[in-house]
């Protein structure tokens, strides 16, 4: 859909530019006569095309209901936002579980403030000794 939207935008912009140019030329050559109907129609059509194109090429709407929004996060996980990176080359991610810091989902990293550094180091050493396979 994004591609179709971009195409509509380009065509719309071309028609709009052409309509404006024609209107300008017409008013300089015949300052007293009214604008011909075809230029008016072209202008309106181009604006219509552009508006449709902008709607189609905009990103998908986010859910506005809490349960739908959080359900989406659970289902899809945290997704990277297209093309956004920090200077260090880390991707910038979209919405994630905002309550993960409570460390209540058993598998998680737990609470950062009470991070058990020694336990984690032991776990890692154990993993390396076991051959480094997950």
């Amino acid at each position: 859909m994004a591609f179709g939207g971009a195409a509509l935008n380009i065509i719309g912009a071309l028609f709009l530019a052409h309509a404006i140019y024609s209107a300008h030329e017409h008013t300089t050559t015949f300052p007293t006569s009214p604008l011909p109907l075809d230029i008016t129609i072209e202008l309106l059509v181009s604006v219509l095309l552009l508006s449709t194109g902008i709607v189609f090429s905009s990103p998908a709407l986010k859910p506005i209901q809490w349960a739908q929004w959080s359900g989406k996060i659970s289902r899809e996980g945290q997704q990277p936002e297209a093309g956004k990176k920090t200077r260090e080359g880390e991707q910038i991610l979209g919405d994630g579980d905002m309550f993960a810091f409570l460390g209540l989902d058993g598998y998680g990293e737990g609470r950062r403030g009470f991070w058990d550094v020694r336990g984690k180091r032991k776990e890692y050493v154990g993993w390396v000794k076991a051959g480094g396979r997950a």
Binding site: W66, E88, D97, D105, D116, V117
Partner: protein, 332 residues
């Protein structure tokens, strides 16, 4: 499998991911985000962004856990030169570094005393107070950790993270009442936290199974909290899993002894906490069907690798599949 990310580390970091994270250290450490020029010029030439320091902090944790202490030290030095050695957060990070390098309990004990000294000078440093609790926990002194946490919470009763930790400590000791109380405090601070509702439900479920037969009121409270978690998150695997377990435990109890009206009234009168009558058998059965259906949907879509269904943890999906298989495939 998403890319290991230092800016927003994944919810769970198994050793393999930790290794991938800490291997990002050399390129990050090779170029300095701050400039060495004198003040006005340094402002123009520095490349730091707020994300820079989050990445450094996460790199520090990843390096420490994979035993890459040299990199951790470098990151810590960089953070210290940027924010100063007295910054609360830097003091805490330094403490974590020392804890990681402590060889034996005596050294850990010494770090604990250092924390006490810091707290005597500045009792408002909550990050260090939390580290102190973590050290006590790692020394195996759970009761002292609980006492320290209760003091912390008296001073800062809206700290949801600390309440959650205290609840966890109580639950490990089997003190279900206290654990539930602490989780309810978390709910007061964050009423929308679906994981907190699921945790309250889990605690009620576990406490129900300490008696035999399991107590109906605890199980129905558990059922209610799981349902609330699902109201807050429509695709919450843990919620559906728990809903299924709780309703499965509740169905035989409700159908064995259909409570007479007088018994219901009595329960309503003497119950301080459980003044709500248990749910109807019909409702519980329908909830169980719903949970089974949703779990099956999640397992099916996750295993098919369908787009938009891959965000679950593999362990959790496996557990759900096991539960469904144990239940027999007749219902689906």
């Amino acid at each position: 499998m998403p890319q290991p990310n230092l800016l927003t580390p994944p919810a769970s970091i198994p050793p393999a991911t930790a290794l991938a994270l800490s291997q990002k250290a050399p390129p990050i450490l090779s170029k300095s985000p701050t400039s060495s020029l004198p003040w006005p010029l340094s402002l123009l030439l520095s490349t730091e962004t707020p994300a820079t320091w989050t990445i450094h902090e996460n790199l520090f944790f990843a390096a420490l856990r994979t035993g890459d202490d040299a990199s951790a030290r470098k990151v810590l030095d960089r953070l210290t030169s940027r924010f100063g050695a007295d910054n609360e957060r830097i003091v805490t990070l330094r403490g974590v570094y020392e804890e990681a390098l402590a060889q034996n309990e005596a050294e850990l004990q010494k770090i604990f005393e250092d924390y006490e000294k810091i707290l005597r000078e500045d009792p408002t440093n909550f990050a260090v107070r939390k580290r102190r609790v973590a050290v006590l926990k790692s020394l195996g002194r759970t009761n002292d950790a609980i006492t320290a946490l209760t003091v912390l919470l008296e001073n800062s009763p809206t700290d949801a993270e600390a309440w959650a930790e205290l609840s966890d400590l109580y639950a490990r000791q089997g003190a279900w009442g206290q654990a539930v109380y602490c989780m309810e405090e978390v709910l007061l601070v964050m009423p929308n936290a679906w994981s907190a509702h699921a945790q309250v439900a889990t605690l009620h479920y576990q406490s129900a199974h300490t008696n035999s037969p399991p107590s109906v009121s605890a199980l129905s409270t558990s059922l209610r909290h799981f349902s609330r978690a699902l109201e807050l998150n429509s695709s919450y695997l843990r919620g559906f899993y728990g809903l299924k377990l709780a309703s499965k435990a509740l169905i035989p109890l409700l159908s064995d002894a259909p409570m007479s009206n007088s018994a219901k009234k009595r329960a309503a009168e003497n119950g301080d906490d459980d003044d709500v009558p248990p749910p109807k058998l019909q409702t519980v059965k329908r909830l169980e069907e719903l949970a089974t259906e949703k779990l099956a949907e999640i397992v099916r879509n996750y295993n098919a690798g369908k787009k938009g269904w891959t965000g679950y943890q593999e362990v959790e999906v496996l557990a759900a599949k096991e539960l469904l298989d144990k239940d027999g495939k007749v219902e689906r």
